[in-house]
Amino acid sequence: MSTVKFTHDHEWLRREDDGSITVGITDYAQEQLGDIVYVELPEAGSAVAAGSQLVVIESVKAVGEVAMPLAGRVAAVNDALADAPERVNEAPLDDGWLVRIEVDDPAGLDAFMDEAAYRDYVAGL
């Protein structure tokens, strides 16, 4: 069973079997952004400081930034988004994933909301 956690900035963080963490934005976030036309991803292998800007997502009308809450290194990026950024709208939790991070402290994930807590959070917005 993989663990999925959520941030107050509407990112999801999923722990994979190899210990790395896959990052994406939630359905609420893609809905707020509207039609996504461009995703700017970091280079694989680059270092990530906690809280640093990781990904820029541009919709027709808005520019959204995804910050990485945990420090680590970029293990992989979703290259398919270069030609098909709309995948983030269509499948934000699946094909629309953004990056995979090897985090310095895997236990850091525990501090974030689980799905039920995130659902309550969004309901209160």
Partner: protein, 375 residues
């Protein structure tokens, strides 16, 4: 979504909410940004027909010695036939553009549509310039609906069959859904379409009747922006403003022929500067812009030549859902304005290649079936 408590609503606000619109403050009004989604609305407009609420735009009526408007605009008003419409500009004394306007000549008055953000200033400017010759009234109890797309004519013909053959840039007064309307065949999308002005009290009934047609879907300001960009049409205050001349803006075609051929003396503000620039060429001119990749170009982004020298600026940009790539326009030095010229932008510290393109990005499909459009 932030809500500006002071924002005014249009006659269709309740309908927008019922249709699930995302409402945003725009030019002092709470306006629908989107319903189903900008891309879907954009594509539907080019495939069938979309209904836009543009009631925030100014509707100004001029009565009296109508030809006096030629003292304020570079277009030919004397030569504008009754029931015909013309796109023209309010210029300033330096030859810049205060606003762009659509002017229709009716039997006893001129009907002017002005941009929402400028309408009070335009009204004051018209009153100051025409006050002795004309009565100028800015209506605040009117609505304006735009029905745009290849099916628009067939949809409206079911309400008034004469509209099917109304010439492009012509007007007709008729009753639609039981309300007196002034219909102009024009629009801001590059498609065939109509703008329907009527009393605010009739707007919802007409909008509901149009939306009941399966070919019609509501569309918001988001789709309106990407459609007009693909069509190469300027947004006043963004692509044209007090510092851009009609020549720089590639709008010299709006200068009356009688001024261009010297057969009449222009009297509009800034005429000397504009006519001189028409002869000499503007230092910077408006062009279409397309990045090589998918990165959207946004207004305010500086344009550089391939040596890194600043040569211009992007004024507006979006993703062209029909073009299938980002679309933008901006101003560049005249020597670099030819389509195919390679430029660069720097966005978030990365350089991206941009090419100058001919406008429009998507060919206009205006109605050419009957009548001769005004030059």
């Amino acid at each position: 979504m932030s809500r500006d408590a002071s924002a005014r609503e249009t006659a269709l606000s309740a309908l927008h909410r019922e249709l699930g619109a995302r409402l945003v403050p725009f030019a002092g009004y709470l306006m629908p940004l989107q319903y189903a989604g900008i891309r879907e609305e954009h594509l539907h407009t080019r495939a069938q027909a979309a209904l836009f609420d543009v009631s925030h735009m100014g509707q100004i009526v001029i009565e009296g010695a109508l030809d006096a408007l030629e003292t304020l605009v570079p277009g030919d008003i004397v030569g504008l036939a009754t029931w015909r419409q013309r796109y023209t500009l309010l210029t300033n004394s330096e030859g810049g553009i205060r606003d762009d306007l659509m002017v229709t000549r009716l039997p006893d008055r001129l009907f002017v549509v002005a941009n929402a953000a400028c309408k009070e200033a335009d009204h004051a400017h018209l009153v100051a310039g025409l006050g002795d010759a004309c009565a100028v009234h800015l209506a605040d109890d009117r609505a304006l609906l735009a029905l745009q797309g290849p099916a628009a004519a067939a949809v409206l013909a079911e309400l008034d069959d004469e509209l099917a053959t109304l010439p492009f840039m012509a007007a007709r007064a008729c009753r639609l859904a039981g309300h007196d309307c002034l219909v102009n065949r024009c629009g801001y999308t590059g498609e065939d379409g109509f703008e329907i002005a009527l009393d605010a009290s009739g707007a919802e009934a007409l909008a509901r009747q149009l939306l009941a047609d399966a070919r019609v879907a509501p569309a918001g300001l988001g789709a309106r922006a990407s459609l007009r960009l693909e069509a190469g049409l300027c947004l006043s205050g963004t692509d044209i403003d007090a510092t851009t001349s009609p020549v720089a803006a590639d709008l010299a075609w709006t200068l009356a022929r009688k001024y261009r051929d010297g057969s009449a003396m222009p009297r509009f503000p800034g005429a000397a500067a504009i006519m001189a620039e028409l002869a000499a060429g503007a230092p910077r001119v408006r062009v279409g812009l397309r990045p090589d990749g998918r990165i959207p170009l946004r207004g305010g982004t500086e344009l550089a030549d391939t040596a890194g020298r600043s040569v211009g600026i992007v004024t507006s940009g979006s993703f062209g859902a029909s073009a299938g790539h980002p679309v933008a326009m901006g101003y560049v030095e005249r020597a670099l304005a030819a389509p195919g010229t390679r430029l660069e932008v720097t966005i978030r510290e990365r350089r991206h290649a941009v090419e100058v393109c001919a406008l429009p990005f998507v060919p206009h499909r205006y109605y050419r079936g009957r009548g001769t459009p005004d030059p």
